[in-house]
C-alpha cells in the first residue's frame, strides 16, 4: 500500500477542516495558479526596465561622454563627473527599486508550509508583499529625486564652470641654423622673433631671415 507516498504516511488528524483552513487552501491554490502569469508579467517588466537602464546609462555616460566637460578645468571636470555620475548611479538604483516594486524580485518556488511558517496565511503573505513593494516604491522615489537633484546640479555646474585656462594658447617652435627653439612668442617685429624659453630669463632673439621653419605646438618637450 502506498499511502502517503514514499516519504509520508497518514496520521490521524486531531481536527476537521474549518472555514478558515478551506479558505486558506483555496487562496494558496489561487496563488499557485498565478505563478506563471506573475513570473511572465515580472519578466516583461524587468525586460522593459533593464532596457531603460541600458538606454539611460548609454546616453548619459557613453554618448555624452566628455563633450560637455572637455573644455573645462580638471577640478571642475571632477566635480561635474562626480555629480553626473552620482546622479546616474542614484537614478539607476532608484529606478531599480521602483521596478522591484512593480515586478517583484527573488521569485522562487515556495511551499505552503514556508508561507505558513513565515507569514501564517496566504493573505498575510500578500500583505507582506504589498508592504515590501511600498517600501521599495518609497525608497525608489527618494533615490530618483536625489538623482534628479544631482543631475540638475551637474548640468548647472557645467553651464557656469569657467573655461580651462589657455595661457599661453600655444607654443612656437622655430628652427634656425639647424637648431630648434621652443617657447612663448613675445614679439615678431623689426625682422626679429622673440621667444621666451624655459630656463632663460630674457627671451631669445632670432632674426627672421635665419628661420627655416616655424610651427605652433601644444607644448615644449
Amino acid at each position: 500500500m502506498v499511502n502517503g507516498g514514499s516519504n509520508y504516511r497518514p496520521k490521524k488528524p486531531s481536527s476537521t477542516p474549518s472555514q478558515g483552513s478551506l479558505a486558506e487552501r483555496d487562496a494558496f491554490i489561487a496563488l499557485a495558479r498565478q505563478s506563471l502569469p506573475a513570473v511572465r508579467a515580472s519578466a516583461e517588466a524587468w525586460r522593459n526596465g533593464l532596457s531603460a537602464f541600458l538606454t539611460l546609462v548609454t546616453a548619459g555616460v557613453i554618448i555624452k561622454g566628455r563633450d560637455t566637460t572637455a573644455g573645462l578645468p580638471a577640478s571642475w571636470r571632477v566635480v561635474i563627473t562626480a555629480l553626473i555620475g552620482g546622479g546616474l548611479a542614484l537614478a539607476v538604483a532608484g529606478l531599480w527599486r521602483v521596478l522591484a516594486a512593480q515586478a517583484g524580485t527573488r521569485y522562487r518556488l515556495s511551499t505552503r508550509q514556508d508561507i505558513r511558517r513565515t507569514y501564517g496565511t496566504v493573505e498575510a503573505y500578500q500583505v507582506a508583499v504589498a508592504e515590501r513593494a511600498t517600501d521599495d516604491l518609497h525608497t525608489g522615489r527618494r533615490l530618483v529625486f536625489a538623482a534628479l537633484g544631482l543631475l540638475l546640479l551637474g548640468v548647472g555646474v557645467s553651464w557656469w564652470a569657467p573655461p580651462a585656462s589657455t595661457s599661453p594658447p600655444a607654443y612656437l617652435k622655430a628652427t634656425f641654423n639647424n637648431t630648434d627653439a621652443c617657447g612663448v612668442l613675445r614679439s615678431a617685429d623689426n625682422g626679429q622673433l622673440r621667444l621666451a624659453v624655459i630656463g632663460r630669463h630674457d627671451p631669445i632673439v632670432i632674426p627672421l631671415a635665419q628661420i627655416t621653419n616655424l610651427a605652433v605646438v601644444p607644448g615644449c618637450a
Binding site: 507516498g5 497518514p10 476537521t16 499557485a32 522562487r108 518556488l109 511551499t111 503573505y125 508583499v129
Partner: protein
Amino acid sequence: MVMSSHTETASDERFERTTGFEWTERAFELLGTGELRAEIQERRPGGRWAHVWGQCPRCGHRIDDWQPLSAVTGLLGGRRTSSDTGEIVDVEPVDVGCGCGTTHPGAPDGTTGCGVSFRIELEPVPDDDPAD
C-alpha cells in the same frame, strides 16, 4: 444523513456542506484499508503536490484530488525555502472536498460532489523508521 455502515456507499446521499469530524475520521479509516489513498509528490520542476484519490468518505464515489503545495512567490527569497533544500519539515494537512463529479440531490445548480470536506494529515517518515 450519516450512514451507520461506512463500507456501504450512498450514491443518493443528499448534498450537504459539512466538515463534520466523523468524515475526517472516516477518511483516516479508508486510508488504512486502501480504499482512499494519499501521497505527496515532489516533481522537479513542478514543486510539491498532494494527491488524494479513492473513495469519498461520505458518498462513496470516486474522488481524485490534486492540490499544489508549492507556488512561485516573490518575497520568500531572503533565505532558502524548504522547496530548495528538499527539507521535509512538518505534518502536511490536506483539506479535501468531495469532487466526485456526481450531482447529488439538493445540490445547488451546477454543483457536483456531496458537499463534504475532510482532512488528511501526512507526516514525514523518519529515515530510520522500520515501517518505511
